[in-house]
Symmetry: C2
Subunit: 340 residues, 2 copies
């Protein structure tokens, strides 16, 4: 006789055309079985991330597409409710896993990673500054772009989950100047006042090249951490110094595009300026997780780095949180709190 | 009393708009003085190179622009005619230097590099396969793209001075498959028959993506050595395998463009495929010259590598040789023979 758990899941019911709309999703309640030998977890926080938009399209990618009519997956953190007697996981244990978009998760022990949360930090931090977005910032800035002390860093999407860690981490690693772009004046103000960026601009307020040139002044830029692509990448290519680097993390400006969009018209500058553009996926950089958790965890605990978050309550609001995140409603990491 | 030498120079008389035309140049005869302490060299071969087109424009670049109404400069090889008694250079000595676009060159000893030509090789080889284009191929393929044994290499402009060395060197370094593109059926035939490329196509004969996909078959490509930019870069980005690299050497498809042209519309693929695109200039790689001369010189002497050349006779034909090279008239390195 198996237990039936009353669970709520978010299903993809239609592949979005352009920006996703609420009707692309359905909130589905159902009883789930816990198979013998499996773990049952009650999720506390669910992650919404830009890369999920790509998985809503059909076609080959570096992650398989979501299936229409099925629950999606994604980062989540929760606590074990039930575990088989022979499992190392005990009820109450905090676990990180990839069975998000639902309030209860079941799966084999290998699907869950036990962690001891740092005192004083919200569990949601492990989906943001201490989670995948934070590690993305860490390896992109230090391993891919190989930031050197004294260099000028520009990061787009600077008020987002990844960008806010990139900018702060660059300062902690001795960047000479940190410039951020964001999509509202309020975010720009936040970057300058709360995250101590040296310069920031609202990319909607003029030609990006002009705004970035004003922010960079005479120094140009040495590292561009690219979260958005499009005209911000083009502007960065124009202003990068000789031997500049671009860490290509994502291109949120294009995720909703129906077809191909022209690339930067100045990519040829890479020859004379000996630029390096390098794409990366955080999944390749697992071995850096220990160093990252230690360094960034400590900085967070000591208040030298701030974990920006936008928290939405209720699993039924998850599609709205996702849609809003793609639109830029969030400051820092957007998470959904469930079962509060 | 100083000697007057009757010399012929090619001057830039007008900055080209789009493709250069003969009227942009003038052949000027004048008597040149050899100042005390200077070397006099009679040039044997002059180099025409794609990068010179950029120097004919005004504006900042990695090399200063040519001046209107003045003689240009560029790679050349010749023999010393006269040298001061205290110079290490003796009459008859072969020297490589950058005072091209003229038949007689004068300058301080430091402007000339003495070399001992390998027996059996034309002096012009030191402007091509054993010169700057060859070193460009060598460092771009081995140091920038970091070719690994067994990998698939695609090189555009494959019948040109750089491309023809890239393809042959890739084979010598164990590439699994070498694909080249060129602008005529005759060049394609030459690549397959004489340079032993595994596959080659005429990029004018169809959508490049389709032609490249047919040439690459199921294997995709691992390294793209980019001499042309434009739609060949776009096609390569589509077909590059995970962790593929692009050595960005030049973009001859754009050198004559009047304004910016759209970049590759699929640059965002670099994220998921973790591609690295890296621009480079051969001038940064001087320390590799010794290894290059030894390895490629030996391969040339032993017949394992072929130095393709197109030789034009007469300094008065140099503007035409340059214009023709940009149009793709040459096979291999285009040089002008003077004072034969």
């Amino acid at each position: 006789m198996r237990d039936l758990v009353r669970a709520t899941e978010i299903h993809l019911v239609r592949r979005p055309q352009g920006p996703p709309v609420p009707g692309d999703f359905a909130t589905v309640a159902r009883g789930i079985e816990v198979s013998p030998g499996e773990i049952l977890v009650r999720n506390a926080f669910l992650s919404v991330d830009p890369y999920m938009r790509g998985r809503m399209n059909d076609g080959p990618s570096y992650v398989p597409p979501y299936q229409v009519g099925r629950v999606m997956d994604g980062g989540a953190i929760g606590r074990v409710i039930a575990a088989p007697p022979d499992s190392k996981l005990r009820p109450g244990q905090v676990v990180l896993h990839n069975l998000g978009w639902r309030d209860f998760a079941t799966g084999p022990e290998a699907a869950f990673r036990a962690l001891e949360p740092r005192p004083g930090l919200s569990l949601s931090t492990y989906l943001g500054a201490l989670g995948m977005p934070g590690l993305t910032a860490y390896v992109g800035l230090l391993d891919v772009a190989r930031l050197q002390s004294g260099e000028v860093v520009f990061v787009s999407g600077a008020a987002g989950a990844v960008g806010s860690v990139v900018g702060q981490l660059a300062k902690l690693h001795g960047a000479g100047r940190v410039i951020g772009s964001a999509g509202s004046d309020a975010k720009v103000e936040h970057l300058l006042r709360d995250l101590h960026f040296d310069a920031a601009f609202n990319y909607k307020r003029g030609p990006v090249l002009q705004l970035l040139a004003e922010a960079a002044g005479d120094t140009g830029i040495d590292v561009y951490f690219d979260n958005v692509g499009g005209d911000q990448l083009e502007a960065a290519l124009s202003l990068l110094n000789v031997h500049g680097r671009v860490a290509m993390c994502g291109a949120v400006s294009r995720y909703n595009a129906a077809g191909p969009m022209p690339g930067p018209n100045n990519l040829g500058l890479a020859v004379g300026k000996r630029l390096r553009l390098e794409g990366f996926l955080v999944g390749d950089h697992g071995p850096r997780r220990g160093a990252f958790l230690s360094e960034v965890g400590e900085a967070l605990s000591e208040g030298r780095l701030r974990a920006d978050e936008s928290v939405v309550d209720g699993i039924e609001n998850m599609p709205g949180a996702f849609i809003g995140m793609l639109r830029g409603d969030n400051v820092g990491k957007m998470v959904v709190r469930v079962g509060a």
